[in-house]
């Protein structure tokens, strides 16, 4: 029944205390009358009882050790800030040329896509292997009603990219460049202009 489906969705929030009064009453009234949902509610309750925070024991020295590890890594990896301020736009430009160049090599017509996978998992794996690993755009999937095994088309790829850009207000520069790597050439250039205006 439709109401049972609705109650199933509300039950987890009922037990975490996140329902408003009217939904709470709806759940309670329904449970009185529906043995199937009562059974389901017991199971959810058991499950949620187990979903409790377990104390994480952190070694009192861990903070100090962490600071040392991070500093060591930063000293080994990190370039001086002054140098980097010049390097970022230069490296980004080189990266852009590589991306466009690579795209042209793969697709000499220049009309097709950066990557040519069939489904989202392949598409994602290819991103990973290409070094353009970026956050899997869940928001985009929700928005487009896609799942991981769906076939990915040029249109969905473009939409995903657009949604990712639209929903990630706090994108870091690396993520930003990564997330546009799979736009069409034309859109890619448009977004690059936006980056230039907003970041550099």
């Amino acid at each position: 029944m439709k109401i049972c489906k609705q109650i199933e969705n509300l039950l987890p929030l009922y037990y975490t205390g996140d329902l408003d009064e009217s939904d709470k009453r709806l759940v309670e009234n329904h449970l009185e009358d529906c043995p199937t949902c009562r059974q389901f509610s017991h199971e959810i309750q058991y499950l949620l009882n187990d979903l409790q925070p377990d104390p994480v024991n952190i070694d009192p020295n861990y903070g100090a050790e962490l600071v040392v590890k991070i500093q060591n890594r930063l000293h080994n990896e990190w370039r001086p800030r002054k140098l980097r301020s010049y390097l970022v736009p230069v490296l980004a430009s080189i990266l852009i040329f590589i991306i466009i160049g690579f795209n042209l090599v793969r697709n000499p017509s220049g009309s097709s896509q950066w990557l040519s996978n069939d489904n989202i998992i392949d598409f994602y794996m290819d991103l990973t292997h290409s070094g353009y690993f970026s956050e899997m755009p869940d928001d985009a999937f929700d928005f487009l009603n896609l799942n991981e095994n769906d076939l990915i088309t040029n249109e969905t790829r473009h939409k995903i990219s657009t949604v990712v850009l639209a929903t990630n207000n706090n994108l870091l520069i690396d993520d930003y460049v990564e997330s546009i790597a799979y736009l069409t050439d034309q859109d890619f250039e448009l977004v690059l202009k936006e980056i230039e205006n907003s970041i550099f």
Binding site: P12, D50, L66, V67, E135, M136, E148, L172, I173
Partner: protein
């Protein structure tokens, strides 16, 4: 979350180290609950603070620095969960349900079993469950750190709990075992 005055930690090693000391428990705790092992949680914690360091010049103080760091950690965590999900999808992680069920009967703790079940959820649902149930964040805070609406956070949680029940059933574990 209280605002913290960090003027130029990028130039001031001491200020950055203080930032690590003051925030590491929360970040490490999140990752430890997410991945289980110290080594992986430690790795993710280090990666998070290195990302924080590298991006501090771009921090615009639109939120508190703690929220900003937490957000970076959660993005880091989501990327990790997605990588794991892909490995799992490709059959590189976790034995099949029959083996898990046997393990459960022998020596697995409920907590380990729960962690494995959570790992089978879509990454976003995993994160919402961890943040709500283990980190005890409100849905409002979850929405803020995940950059989604409060309603979307609730829907994700609700689906996650229902999916967990399904995962347990597939693993041959009935609710009486929990």
């Amino acid at each position: 979350m209280a605002k913290q005055n960090v003027n130029h930690p990028v130039y001031d090693e001491q200020a950055f180290n203080n930032l690590v000391r003051e925030n590491h428990q929360r970040i490490y705790g999140l990752f430890r609950r997410m991945v289980g092992s110290h080594a992986e949680a430690d790795d993710l914690t280090q990666e998070t603070f290195i990302k924080v360091y590298k991006n501090l010049p771009k921090f615009r103080q639109e939120s508190s620095i703690q929220t900003w760091i937490y957000r970076i950690a959660i993005n880091q965590g989501l990327n990790y969960l997605r990588r794991m999900k892909i490995r799992q999808t490709l059959g590189l992680e976790f034995a099949d349900s029959a083996v898990e069920s046997d393990e459960f009967k022998s020596n697995q703790s409920n907590r380990d079993l729960l962690r494995k079940a959570i790992a089978k959820l879509p990454p976003r649902q995993q994160m919402v469950v961890i943040l709500r149930s283990f980190q005890e964040l409100s849905f409002k805070d979850i929405a803020a750190v995940l950059n989604i609406t409060e309603n979307a956070a609730k829907v994700n949680f609700s689906h996650a709990v229902k999916n967990l029940r399904e995962v347990f059933l597939k693993m041959g574990v009935t609710y009486e075992n929990l």
